[in-house]
Amino acid sequence: MKRLIFKRLLLLIPLVLGVSLICFTLINLNPSNPAEVTLRVNNITPTNEAILEMQKELGLDKPLYQRYIYWLKDILKADFGNSYETKEPVLNEILQAFPTTLYLTFCSLFLIITVGFSIGVICAIYEGHWIDRTLRIFTFVCTSVPSFWFALLLIWLFSIKFDLLPTGGLEDINSIILPSITLAISYIGTFIRIMRNSLVQIKQSLFISYAKARGLKKHVILKHQIRNALQPFIIALNMSIPRLLAGTVIVENIFGLPGVGRLCIQAIFNRDYPMIQAYILFMAVLFILFNLFADIWVQIRDPRLRRCQ
C-alpha cells in the first residue's frame, strides 16, 4: 500500500508539470498583447512607447520558453507573479479571496451531505412509493434549474417577499444561507440519486437477504446498507469538492461575494494572464490531489482493488 501511495505521489510531478505547460502555452498563444492589455485595464492609452515600456516591465521581451522556465522557478519560490491589473502579488490576491470561497464551499458541502444523504435514504426506504417519486421529481428539478435563475428566485422569495435574509454581501452570518443553497442545489440532486441507487442495489445483495433471514431489525439492516452505500457517495463527494470550489463564479457574482470565482472571472475579462495561469494551476492541483485522495481511500477500503493493482 505504501509503495502504491509513493508511486501515485511521484506521478503528481509530471502531471502538474504537464498542466502548467499546457496552461502557460495556451494563455500565451492568445493574440492579445499582454502589455497592451495591461495598459488598457489600467485605462492608459496604449501608445507604442508605453507598450514597449510595459513589455520590458513585464519581461515579455524574452522568448516564451525562457518565460515559462522563469515562471516555474518563481512558483517553486511561491511567487506566482504580479497581477497585470492590480500590480499586487497573485498569490496574495488568491489567498485573500480564498477564505470566502472556502466558507461558501464548506456551507454548501454541509447542505449536500445532510440533505443529499437523508433524502437519498428516504427515497431508498420508500422505493417506488409516491414519496420516492415526488422526491425524484425534486432531484430532477434540482439538477436542471440554472443556478443564476435559482439564485434570483431565492433572493426574490426570501429577501424581498418574506424579508428574512439579505440579498447579498458577506457582512453578517445570514448572508451565506442563500448562496450556499444555490451552490448546493444541483449537487444535492445528484447525491440523492447516488445514495438512493446504491441503497437500492445493495438491498438486493445476498448479505441483506441473509440479514433478513436472521431476523435482524429493519434499522439494523438499514445501517448495514448505508455503511456499504457510503463508498460511492464519498468518492463522488471527494471529486465534488474541487468542482464546488471552481464552480462558485455565478453564485459569487450574483450575491456579491469576494471569492476566488469572482477573481477569476475578472481576470478573464481583463486578460490578467498571471492571475488566470495561477488560478488554472491552483484548480488543476486541487483536482489532482482530490482524485488521488479518493483513489487511495477506495483502495484502503476495498482490499480487492489492491489485489488487482
Binding site: 485605462n43 512607447e49 492590480t86 434570483l152 454581501g169 445570514n174 457574482n253 450574483i254
Partner: protein
C-alpha cells in the same frame, strides 16, 4: 412519514424565523445618515495619479485646482488664477485653509510635488495633451504656483479640473517621492475619507470633518459591490441599496430604468446629454472606403426607431457627432435623416445594384456584405446592432453583426479590421478636445477608421493646431472646419446623445449630476427619513 415532513417544515420555519428576526434587528440599527451606492465594480486602487480605480471614488477623496461646471471653470483648491505670457503662463493662487486628511497642509510645494509626480510618468498620460504641454512648474510663494506651458494650450484649465490625473494627495503617501509605482495611503483634501475597504465587497467613505468647504450632510457613503445587474435591482427593492447611478447601461439598462420609472416607487433622474453614441465607418476598408456607400448608410438607419424603441425615448436623436450643447459644436450641419429611398438611390449611383430576385446588392459580381462589431457584454449595443442589420437589409446590404468580448473588440479597433464599429465618445468635459485629440493615436478605432480620408494628415495637423490656438474665434472656426469635414466624409453615423441615469430611494434627496458622467456628487445628497 407525514410527521417527518411536518417536523422538517416546522424546523425550517423556526430557523428562518430566528434568522429573520436577527436580520430585522440589524435593519433597525442601520445608520440613517448613510447612503449605500450599488457598484458593479470594486473601487480598486484609487491612486489619483493613475487610472486603475473607480473615478467616482477618486473624485470623493482627491480634489483639483479648479472645477468644471455648467457655467465654466470655477475656483476650487486655487482661489484664483492669472494667465499671462500669451496664454503660456498660469499662476495659481492657492487657498490657505486646506489640509489633507492626515493633517498635512496643502500649499504650493505639495501642489508642485503632485504635478511633478504626474509629469514624471508622461508615457502613461499621453492621451492628455496638457501633460505634453507643461514645460515647468515653479513655487513662487508658499501659496502661489506657476505653471509654464510650451504652447498656449486652451483646454489647460478644463484638463486641470478633470477627475484624473491632476489631483492632490498628501506627500506622506508618496513612495520614494513618486506615485507612479504605487502609494502608501489615500489622504486627500476632498469631502470624504476612505475609512474601510474590503476588496470586491465594499468600500466605506466617511465625511471629512476638517473639510475646507461645505461639509457633506451625509455621514457615510458605502460602495457596495454587486456585479450582477438583476441583483442590484433586487437589493434596491429591499432598501439595501439607496442609489444606482451611471451611464450607458453599465449600471442600469434602459429597460430596467423605464420599468422602475413606471413603478413610481423610486425616484429617477436623467442628466442632460453627456456623450455621443455613434457607428464608426472605416474609410480604409474595400467597400466603406467609398464615400457614396458611407453616405447611403447615413440615410439607411432609422435613428428615431432606435431612440424610441430600444432606448425607450430616454436619449435624444443625434444628427451630428457632438451634441450642440458641447463646446465648439453648435454648428449648422445637414441632418442626414432616415430616408431609405435616398439610400437606395445613392447605392445605385455607386454601382451597387439590386438585381432581379436578389436580396443583396452586387457590384462587379461582389456582394455588398459589411461587418459590424460590438462589445458582446453590452446588451444594448447588441439590440441596436440587430436593428441596424434589419435596416440595412431593407436597402440590400447584408450586415454581419459580430459581438466580441471587450478585449477582442479593443484589439480590433487597433488593427482597423472592421467595416463598422460601435463607438461612444467620452462625454463632457472630455468632449470635444480630449476625444478629438485621441483621433491622432494609432491605438484608437477613430484613427484607423479615418486613415482612408484624403485629408487625414490635414485633420491630425488641424487637431494639434486647434488645441494650442489661443484665439477663441479662430479656434471656433477651426473646430467648425474639422467637424464639417468629418461630417461631410460620413465617418460617423451619429445615433443618439447618451445621458447619465440615476435611480434612488425616495429618502435620498439632492441627487444631481456633475458635468462629468464619471463623477457622483455625493456631497450634495442627504437623507430625509421623514418622508
Amino acid at each position: 412519514m407525514k410527521s417527518l415532513f411536518l417536523k422538517t417544515t416546522i424546523i425550517l420555519f423556526i430557523i428562518f424565523f430566528l434568522v429573520g428576526c436577527q436580520e430585522k434587528r440589524k435593519n433597525e440599527n442601520i445608520n440613517n445618515n448613510q447612503l449605500v451606492y450599488a457598484s458593479t465594480k470594486d473601487i480598486r486602487n484609487i491612486n489619483p495619479h493613475l487610472y486603475a480605480g473607480e473615478m467616482s471614488a477618486q473624485n470623493m477623496v482627491f480634489e483639483s485646482l479648479v472645477i468644471n461646471t455648467k457655467d465654466g471653470i470655477k475656483p476650487n483648491l486655487a482661489e484664483r488664477w492669472e494667465i499671462s505670457n500669451k496664454g503660456k503662463k498660469y499662476t495659481f493662487y492657492l487657498r490657505k485653509d486646506v489640509f489633507f486628511s492626515d493633517g498635512t497642509i496643502f500649499d504650493a510645494n505639495i501642489a508642485k510635488k503632485n504635478i511633478d509626480a504626474v509629469l514624471s510618468n508622461r508615457a502613461r498620460h499621453a492621451w492628455l495633451e496638457l501633460v505634453n504641454e507643461i514645460d515647468a512648474t515653479k513655487v513662487i510663494a508658499p501659496y502661489i504656483l506657476e505653471i509654464t506651458l510650451k504652447n498656449p494650450y486652451y483646454p489647460t484649465l478644463i484638463e486641470f479640473a478633470m477627475t484624473r490625473p491632476f489631483r492632490f494627495i498628501s506627500s506622506k503617501c508618496f513612495i520614494n517621492n513618486e506615485t507612479k509605482n504605487g502609494i502608501s495611503c489615500y489622504s486627500g483634501t476632498g469631502p470624504w475619507i476612505l475609512k474601510e475597504h474590503k476588496k470586491n465587497a465594499y468600500a466605506l467613505f466617511v465625511r471629512n470633518s476638517n473639510y475646507w468647504a461645505n461639509k457633506p450632510k451625509l455621514e457615510k457613503v458605502k460602495f457596495r459591490v454587486i456585479p450582477d445587474h438583476q441583483a442590484i435591482l433586487l437589493a434596491l427593492e429591499k432598501n439595501e441599496v439607496d442609489l444606482i447611478f451611471g451611464a450607458d447601461g453599465d449600471m442600469i439598462d434602459l429597460n430596467a430604468f423605464s420599468m422602475l420609472e413606471k413603478e413610481n416607487k423610486y425616484a429617477t433622474l436623467l442628466s442632460d446629454p453627456v456623450a455621443s453614441r455613434a457607428i464608426l465607418l472605416n474609410t480604409k476598408q474595400p467597400i466603406t472606403k467609398d464615400l457614396k456607400v458611407r453616405e447611403a448608410l447615413q440615410y439607411a438607419i432609422n435613428k428615431q426607431a432606435i431612440v424610441k424603441g430600444i432606448l425607450n425615448g430616454s436619449e435624444s436623436i443625434a444628427h451630428s457627432l457632438f451634441a450642440p450643447t458641447t463646446a465648439y459644436s453648435n454648428i449648422q450641419l445637414d441632418a442626414k435623416k432616415y430616408n431609405p429611398l435616398k439610400a437606395k438611390e445613392i447605392l445605385d449611383e455607386a454601382g451597387w445594384k439590386l438585381n432581379n430576385n436578389e436580396l443583396i446588392r452586387t457590384k462587379n459580381n461582389k456582394k455588398l456584405v459589411l461587418r459590424l462589431y460590438f462589445n458582446a457584454n453590452n446588451a444594448q449595443e447588441k439590440t441596436i446592432s440587430e436593428y441596424i442589420q434589419s435596416n440595412l437589409k431593407d436597402i440590400g446590404i447584408d450586415l454581419k453583426i459580430i459581438g466580441e468580448e471587450k478585449q477582442s473588440f479593443l484589439d480590433r479597433q487597433k488593427s482597423g479590421d472592421f467595416d463598422l464599429q460601435y463607438s461612444l465618445s467620452w462625454g463632457v468635459p472630455y468632449d470635444p478636445q480630449s476625444y478629438i485629440s485621441s483621433w491622432r493615436m494609432a491605438a484608437h478605432g477613430d484613427y484607423q477608421a479615418q486613415l482612408g480620408l484624403s485629408k487625414k494628415a490635414w485633420l491630425d495637423k488641424q487637431i494639434k493646431a486647434v488645441l494650442i490656438e489661443p484665439n477663441k474665434t479662430t479656434r471656433e472656426k477651426m473646430y467648425t472646419q474639422l467637424l464639417e469635414y468629418i461630417h461631410k466624409q460620413s465617418v460617423y453615423i451619429p445615433l443618439s446623445y447618451s445621458r447619465t441615469k440615476a435611480v434612488f430611494n425616495t429618502r435620498v434627496k439632492g441627487v444631481t449630476f456633475n458635468l462629468s458622467q464619471y463623477e457622483i456628487p455625493f456631497e450634495k445628497m442627504h437623507i430625509d427619513n421623514k418622508r
